[in-house]
Symmetry: C2
Subunit: 216 residues, 2 copies
Amino acid sequence: MIELIQNYNSKKIYERLPIYVHFLNSIQENNISSTTISKSLNLGEVQVRKDLALVSGKGRPKTGYATKHLLKDIKKYMGMNHVSKAIIVGFGQLGKALYHYSGFSELGIDIVQAFDISITNDFVKGIEELERYCLENKILFGILSVPSMEAQATADKLIRCGIVGIWNFTSVRLNVPSHVVIQNENLAASLSVLVKSTLDKKAGNKLEKSKKTNIS
Amino acid sequence: MIELIQNYNSKKIYERLPIYVHFLNSIQENNISSTTISKSLNLGEVQVRKDLALVSGKGRPKTGYATKHLLKDIKKYMGMNHVSKAIIVGFGQLGKALYHYSGFSELGIDIVQAFDISITNDFVKGIEELERYCLENKILFGILSVPSMEAQATADKLIRCGIVGIWNFTSVRLNVPSHVVIQNENLAASLSVLVKSTLDKKAGNKLEKSKKTNIS
DNA sequence: TAGATTGTTAATCGATTAACAATC
DNA sequence: TAGATTGTTAATCGATTAACAATC
């Protein structure tokens, strides 16, 4: 008999692991249990345990996990043990806000430079310097916060500069070659989801269901 | 025989419908096919058709959907046919960027006012005016972009003001009563997902899998 | 009529949760 | 030993995709 077990680790776990990292950084205890984590973060107890088992599996019954050790394992798994350098293109209000956002560094991400067509202050370089800068500094990640009109052209340029991961804040659905990863951050759509979910709940639906009942 | 069919409409569809709205607003054609939509937005053809069937179901073989009609049906389904008023608390760089973000209005969302502890310009009111403003104007949605330290206390205050949907940009996992909907927008975690996914792809994994093979 | 396109059922894939055995 | 907690398998739930019938 041949048995094939595939232990998938879902994409969703990638969203939760940074949350654990942030939490573990904030506590003092040397040991922490999955129960405590799950309660603090409003996540399922089993889910937390499964996540941790996948990336660490060094928990001990009764005592839980060694905080430091767990943190190290999660960071290693997520590639946070070395710094990932990212640049921003489009230094409007959103680009500026992201540039100064403080939550990235504990996750091993460093926004090293911003670019824009107009140089408004010391933080930003002109777009014409983009290519040389990215190639010289081996930048892999780009944050796209330009006007929609320029989204695709700018993405194309980023890819020519060696960027392989694009965080896309524009409303344009980018076309990119298969070696490039796009993460869309559609703020307007996201707020819409909140509005609709809230209206659903007010109307008494968890999620709307339509039910057909056939009796034959 | 009793047959029970439940036609779930997933949460995920709520993320796609605004994307369709934006796309439909951008085209000139009177009719549009699901094939064209799916190609333009890089979505599965069947998925688009299923989404549209759920909210409209007025497509015609050979011609597709009447653009105007489809747009109306999606908007109605999502509650975009009336304006949802939202306020922002925390007028730092991120709050400012969101306040001036232009993508919300076509989705029926209007950010009507910003609040902060310090009144830095004409757009913002002092936090002490929050309660009266929200109650008087029947505000249901709040955007939380305050420092993490004040996140929970501010959320509590919002809820006392009648807010039932909170778009949470802080890294705090809020505790709220069951009638309140939270949508977490964890920017740091989101960029982490991009980094990890990109590193995966570079390493040649679609998604990492661990395989156990037992032969007995 | 032929072909393009919709709409729906069934199958597959992916993610979470429940149950419970293992262990410190 | 008892009890708290981990780790894992099986079951359930949710979302997408494939196959194909219906129809303009």
